[in-house]
C-alpha cells in the first residue's frame, strides 16, 4: 500500500522542480472541475443557501430580534450561519469525491498530493463566499441593518479562509469513517473555536465602529490561525489520503 503512494511521488517532484507552473495548473484544474460540476448540478450551493436562510429564520424566532438585541447579536448570528452552512458544503463536496470514486482517480494523478488539498480548499472557499455574498444582503434587507462594511468583509474573508483550511482537511478524514455524516461537525467545531471568537469579536468591532486598536488583536489572531493551519494541512494532507 505504502509503496504505491511512494512510487507516485517522483514524477510529482520532477514537475515541481520547474517553476511551480504545473502545480498551480493542477490546482486550477481541480477547482475548475468542482465549479463546472456545481454549475451543472447546482445541488451543493442550493442546499447551502437554503440551509443558511433557514438558520437565519430560526434565529429570528429563537432570539426574537428586535432592534436592540439585533445590534449585539448580528455578528454571532452571521458566523453561526456561516459555520453551519459551511459544514454542509464541506461534507457534500468531499462525499461526492468519495462516492463516485473520484478521489481514487485524483490520487492516481501524478501531481503532488497537496495540489488536491489546495484545489478542494479553493473550491470550498468559493462556495462559502457565494453563500456569504447572498446571506449578507438578505440579512441587511430583512433586519434593516447595513452590513456593507469593508472591514466586515475583510473579517469574513479571513475567517472563512481559516474555517475552510481546517474544514477541507477534516472533511477528507470524515468521509473515510463509518459515521461520516455526523463526524465532520464533531471533529471541526471544537478546533475552529478560535476563528469564531476572533471573527465574531472583530465583526462586532467593525459594525459598532470601535477604534482599530481594539479590533487588531482579533484580526492578527485570524491571520495567525490561517497561516498555521494552511501550513499544517499542507504538511499532513498526504497522511490523510494515503492508501
Amino acid at each position: 500500500m505504502k509503496s504505491a503512494a511512494v512510487s507516485s511521488r517522483p514524477p510529482a517532484r520532477d514537475t515541481l522542480s520547474k517553476p511551480n507552473a504545473s502545480f498551480l495548473k493542477s490546482i486550477g484544474a481541480i477547482v475548475w472541475k468542482d465549479l463546472a460540476a456545481e454549475l451543472r448540478s447546482r445541488e451543493l450551493l442550493t442546499a447551502m443557501l437554503v440551509f443558511a436562510l433557514l438558520v437565519i429564520l430560526i434565529f429570528n424566532f429563537a432570539l426574537d430580534l428586535d432592534s436592540t438585541t439585533r445590534k449585539a447579536a448580528t455578528p454571532g448570528i452571521l458566523w453561526a450561519t456561516f459555520t453551519f452552512a459551511g459544514t454542509l458544503g464541506l461534507n457534500r463536496s468531499m462525499a461526492l469525491e468519495k462516492d463516485r470514486g473520484c478521489l481514487d482517480g485524483l490520487l492516481l494523478v501524478p501531481v503532488d498530493r497537496s495540489a488536491i488539498y489546495f484545489g478542494k480548499m479553493i473550491s470550498n472557499m468559493v462556495f462559502m463566499l457565494i453563500v456569504e455574498a447572498v446571506v449578507l444582503p438578505v440579512y441587511s434587507v430583512l433586519y434593516n441593518t447595513n452590513l456593507f462594511n469593508p472591514g466586515l468583509i475583510g473579517v469574513i474573508l479571513l475567517g472563512s479562509f481559516g474555517y475552510v483550511a481546517v474544514g477541507t482537511l477534516l472533511s477528507s478524514m470524515a468521509v473515510q469513517t463509518r459515521t461520516r455524516d455526523v463526524m465532520l461537525p464533531i471533529l471541526l467545531f471544537p478546533v475552529v473555536i478560535p476563528i469564531l471568537i476572533a471573527a465574531v469579536n472583530a465583526s462586532s468591532g467593525f459594525l459598532q465602529g470601535l477604534p482599530s486598536s481594539e479590533i487588531m488583536p482579533y484580526i492578527n489572531l485570524l491571520i495567525v490561525y490561517d497561516v498555521i493551519f494552511t501550513a499544517f494541512a499542507y504538511m499532513v494532507f498526504d497522511y490523510v489520503v494515503e492508501e
Partner: protein
C-alpha cells in the same frame, strides 16, 4: 496471558503509598487557609489533576508527531493512552475546580479562559475517541488520530490565547499575582511543599497509569490481530 511485570507491580505500590502520603500532607501538614478554610484543600488535587492532564496532552502531541514520522503502531498506542488519561484527569480538574469555585466565586462555572479551554479540550478528546471508533482499518485509524491530535494540540493553545483577550478572573497562583482575580491567596512555605509533593505524586500516578494503559493497548492489538487471523 503474561502476568503483570514486576516493575509495574512495584510502581503500583509506590503510587498507592505516595497517594496516601499526599493525603496525609494535605490534611495534616498543610496549614488551613485563612479565608477559605477547608475549601482550599481541594486546590492541591485540582492543580495536580490539571498537571497530569497537561502531561497527557503534551505526550499525546509528541506521540502523534513520532507516529507520523515513523509509522510505528506502538506510538499510536502511546498516543491513545495519553489522550485517555488526559481526558479523565482534565475532567477531574474541571469538576474539582467547579466544587472550589462555588464557594469562592459564587458559581460553579464561568466562561473563563482556563475553564473554557479545558472544556473545549475535553470535546476534542471525545471527538478523537469517536473518530477512532468510526474507522476499522488500524493503519488508517492510527494516521487519522495522529493528525487529529496534532490539530488539537495546535488549536487548543490558540483557543486559550483568544479567550484570554477577554478579562479573566481565574487566580494565578504561581508567578505574577493579578489583582483582578478573585480567590487568589499567598502560599506559606508549608503549602508550597505540599503542593509540590502532590504534583510529584500525581506525576508518578500518571506514569503508572500510562504504563498500564500501554500494556492494555498492546494486548488489545494482539487480540485484534488474532481476530483478523481467525477471519482469514
Amino acid at each position: 496471558m503474561k502476568p503483570q511485570p514486576v516493575p509495574l507491580k512495584i510502581l503500583d505500590v509506590i503510587s498507592i503509598l505516595l497517594f496516601l502520603a499526599a493525603l496525609a500532607m494535605v490534611f495534616l501538614y498543610a496549614p488551613l487557609e485563612l479565608t477559605m478554610n477547608y475549601v482550599q484543600k481541594i486546590f492541591y488535587f485540582h492543580i495536580a489533576n490539571a498537571w497530569v492532564g497537561m502531561l497527557g496532552f503534551i505526550t499525546a502531541a509528541v506521540a502523534g508527531i513520532i507516529y507520523l514520522v515513523r509509522h510505528d503502531p506502538d506510538w499510536d498506542i502511546i498516543e491513545l493512552a495519553a489522550v485517555e488519561i488526559s481526558l479523565v484527569f482534565f475532567l477531574i480538574a474541571i469538576l474539582s475546580g467547579s466544587i472550589w469555585a462555588r464557594p469562592s466565586w459564587g458559581t460553579y462555572w464561568t466562561w473563563e479562559p482556563r475553564l473554557t479551554t479545558a472544556a473545549i479540550l475535553e470535546m476534542i478528546y471525545i471527538a478523537y475517541l469517536l473518530l477512532r471508533q468510526g474507522i476499522d482499518d488500524p493503519d488508517r485509524r492510527a494516521r487519522f488520530s495522529a493528525v487529529y491530535t496534532l490539530i488539537g494540540s495546535i488549536s487548543v493553545p490558540i483557543t486559550f490565547l483568544s479567550i484570554r483577550l477577554f478579562r479573566t478572573i481565574h487566580p494565578v497562583i504561581i508567578g505574577a499575582n493579578s489583582n483582578t482575580s478573585q480567590g487568589s491567596f499567598d502560599m506559606s512555605p508549608r503549602m508550597l511543599v505540599t503542593m509540590f509533593f502532590t504534583l510529584g505524586t500525581f506525576s508518578v500516578i500518571f506514569v503508572t497509569l500510562f504504563c498500564h494503559r500501554i500494556r492494555l493497548g498492546r494486548l488489545a492489538r494482539l487480540v485484534e490481530q488474532r481476530k483478523l487471523e481467525e477471519l482469514r
